[in-house]
Structures are given as C-alpha cells and as structure tokens.
C-alpha cells in the first residue's frame, strides 16, 4: 500500500512538470507565446464555474456582466494561426488525453466510472498499437471540443453578427452567432459534429456557448462524449501573435463536475503570403486511403506505386 502511495505522489508531482517541460519545448517553436498558466490562475478559472447549475447558466451570468461593458471595436484576428507551435502531441495536441490530464497544479478531473473505464481501455489498445481514427481517417470531422486541440492551420473570421472559426484539417468550420439569437429551440435540436454555438462580445473577448453536440470519441482511443456535452469558451487575442482560449466543458457521461483547460494559438509567420489553407479531400490521392484492420488498427488499402490497378491521384 505504501508503495502505491509513493508512486502516486511521484506521479502527481511529476506530471505537471513533465507537461510543463513539453510545453516549454513547444514554446520554442513559435514567435513569442505567452507563458503557460500558473497553477493559481488555472485553479481560479477551474473553480469559478462550480457555483453554477450548468455551463449555460455560467454563460448567461457572463452575458449579464458584459451588458455593462462599453462596446469595443471588433478585434482583428486575421492571419493564419496554429496550436502546434505552442503545444505537442505528448501534451494536448490532437486530443491526446487533453481533456483528462491533470491541470498545471496536478489537480485531476473528477471522472465518472465510465470515463475511467474508457480511458483504461483506450490506453490498452494504444499500447498494442491498435489505433484507428473513426473520423479523421475518412476526412470526417474531429468534432467539437476535440476541434480545439487539432494541429495544422486555423483562421478566424470576425464579422459583426457572426464569427467563423476554421481549421484546415478536414475543412471544419464553426459558426458562432453573435447577433443576439439563442440556440435552436429544444424541440428542433439535433446533434452536430461542431454543435450549435452562440456568443457575445465582452469588450474584445468573444464568449461562446456550445451545445447540441454529437456523441463521438474525444480523440483516438479516448472516451466517448455524449450529446449532453456543453462548453463555454472565452477567446481573447492577447497580443499580435497570440490568441488564448479559456474552455470549460461538462458532460455528465464523463465528468462529475465541469473541467477547465486553456488552449493557445499563435500566428504563423507568412511574410510572403505563400502560406494558404487548402481543401482536404481523402479521395484526392489513393495513396492516402486507410482502412481499419480486423484487430482494430490502421493500415493502408494499397498504393498506386505498387498496385498498378489503383487509380492515379486526381491532380
């Protein structure tokens, strides 16, 4: 028993250090990303939603507070952005246990037995090399909130009534309605990969509430979120090269109380404007066709350069 406690203590102490180390390594790859959150700041933000009955209540409280804030010009979020200059696959990128890892101070999310069991099952599959992406492997959407963790390029298009949040990967687009409309009436709702997002501006911070999400894995070999998943996000451009997003999420299938993570995106240098986001189409090049193996892993279906009966790429 003592041995277990010693191991546990080590893991609790070491995990944020390991994660912080990963983040620092990642930070060297971008321009000048903001320092990672301190444990105190993380804890304050984690705790601030716990007094509300739901994240929608929290969103409504934020909206009420913002009503007294003077209107500000819409921010300039133009350019091309990415998470992969400040994050790593070992930390949060690509949904890699992002929503189940301890916070910077080592605090772990309070998970349901279902989430614990699925984490364990997923880990066992991963250890055996049995990894298949039911969504991305066919250019389907990662879906939200996994969307927040995806690598590659991003764009944000801010307009007075609507903000478009785009990722290059699988051409995913989120539409955030800021014209004062509410969510779709309950009787007319149906689950969506990116859900239904409404928002408002608090100064130059965009506050978003998202619901109507699909049941889907939160990453490869990660627990399944349910249609009851809801989130609140606060997006803020903190300087010319950094956008910081505070994210609270709750799904009664996975969590016993809301969980909090912070996502950061940095502007991708593009001085000659040659960097452009291109369409993703899994049928464009047959060499990218993959299939799920009988065991549950991933393999290529075949190659044009070894199997002459396969079609050549469409370009």
């Amino acid at each position: 028993m003592l041995k277990q406690w010693v191991v546990f203590a080590f893991l609790v102490i070491a995990s944020p250090l390991l994660i912080a180390q990963t983040t620092r390594q990642g930070s060297q790859q971008g321009g000048a990303p903001r320092p990672a959150q301190t444990p105190t700041e993380w804890q304050r933000k984690h705790d601030m939603v716990l007094k509300y009955r739901s994240l929608e209540d929290y969103y409504n409280a934020l909206k009420k507070e913002a009503a007294s804030v003077p209107k500000a010009p819409l921010p300039d979020w133009s350019g091309i952005w990415t998470a992969d200059s400040v994050d790593s696959f070992g930390n949060c990128l690509g949904g890699s246990q992002c929503y189940f890892r301890p916070g910077p101070g080592g605090v772990t999310p309070k998970l349901t037995p279902v989430a614990m069991a699925e984490l364990k099952s997923g880990e066992e599959k991963t250890a055996k090399g049995l990894i298949y992406d039911e969504n991305l492997s066919t250019c389907g959407p990662a879906g939200f909130p996994r969307w927040l963790t995806e690598p590659f390029l991003r764009e944000q298009i801010v307009t007075p009534d609507q903000t478009y949040l785009l990722t290059e990967q699988a051409n995913e687009i989120r539409r955030v309605y800021t014209d004062g409309r509410g969510h779709t009436p309950e009787a007319d709702r149906y689950p969506l990969p990116e859900g239904d997002s409404i928002g408002f501006w608090n100064g130059q911070k965009l506050v978003i509430h998202t619901n109507q999400l699909q049941s889907r894995p939160m990453g490869r070999n990660q627990p399944m979120q349910s249609e009851k998943m809801e989130t609140v996000e606060i997006w803020e451009k903190t300087d010319a090269n950094n956008i910081v997003v505070d994210v609270w999420l709750f799904d009664p299938r996975l969590y016993l109380e809301p969980w909090y993570v912070q996502r950061r995106y940095t502007q991708v240098p593009n001085p000659d404007k040659s960097m452009r986001i291109r369409y993703w189409d899994c049928s464009e090049n047959p060499n990218n066709d993959v299939t799920k193996t009988q065991e549950g892993g991933t393999d290529f279906k075949g190659f044009t350069f070894t199997d002459k009966s396969k079609n050549q790429p469409n370009h």
């Binding site: 246990q97 080592g106 370009h315």
Partner: protein, 153 residues
Amino acid sequence: MIGITRASLLMVALLVLAPLVVEAHHAASMFEAEKEVTVTGVVKEFQYTNPHSWLLVDVTNKDGSMTTWGFEAEGPSTLMRAGIRKSDFATGTKLTITGHPMKNGQPAASWIKAVRADGVEFNPRLRTGNPTPAPAGNDGAVPSASSSAAPAR
C-alpha cells in the same frame, strides 16, 4: 485536497505514462517507428496533396530492376512551413531519402529527411528559419536537424 483513491492512482498513471499518441489523418501503427530505411534514386512524382503528401522515388536495385518507393509526409501546409515546395522535387531529381519503413515490407516509409544531389537537405518536420524541430508528425519521431552537415531547408 485531492482525494486519493486507487482509481485516481490508475488514472494519473495512465495519463502520465501513456505513450505519446500522435495525430494527423491516420494513425502510424503501420510504420516501424524504431527502424529507418535509406534509399538513393530519382524522383518519379511529388504528390503534393492533403491530407498527406507522397514523394515517389524510383530506385534501381542491385539486380538492375526498378522499385518505386513512396515516402509519406504531412500535407502541403506542413511542408510549406518546413520550406518544402512542390518545385523542390521535380521529376528526375536525384536524392537520398530516409524514412521509417512499413512493417509489412512494402516499399513505403514515413519520410524523415531527404538530401538532394546538390546537398540540400529537406526535413518535413522542421520549420523554416527555426532550428527547433516541429511537433512530431504521424509517426511520433522528431528527427535531428544536426545529424547531417548538409544545408537544411
């Protein structure tokens, strides 16, 4: 105070000690992450496509026969960030290229680095003008930029 239970012990252990799962369009379990293969040949075609690009290289075998090898990298935007443009590998370009080979023995690999006959090195996971490797791609490997004296792109 954090409640300490066997369940939380298990969870923390899983989270901290888990292998690093990487993300792109597909998992990389078909490649041998611990092995490398290097071939010399000429570019047959550079398929500069999403979600993955393929550099096809014709390699002349010892017995005089020809094998076309395919080296997979991420899509165009990742290659652009690494300073690799489609025109860098025109058909007929001579090169030596290294990758993580397929487990099943097919002539394909996850591209680590390519050195053209003119000595210029191309690493699809390096950022242009930045010596620090970018996050690992679909095989989890972060190749070393300093392992070759060749000028890097």
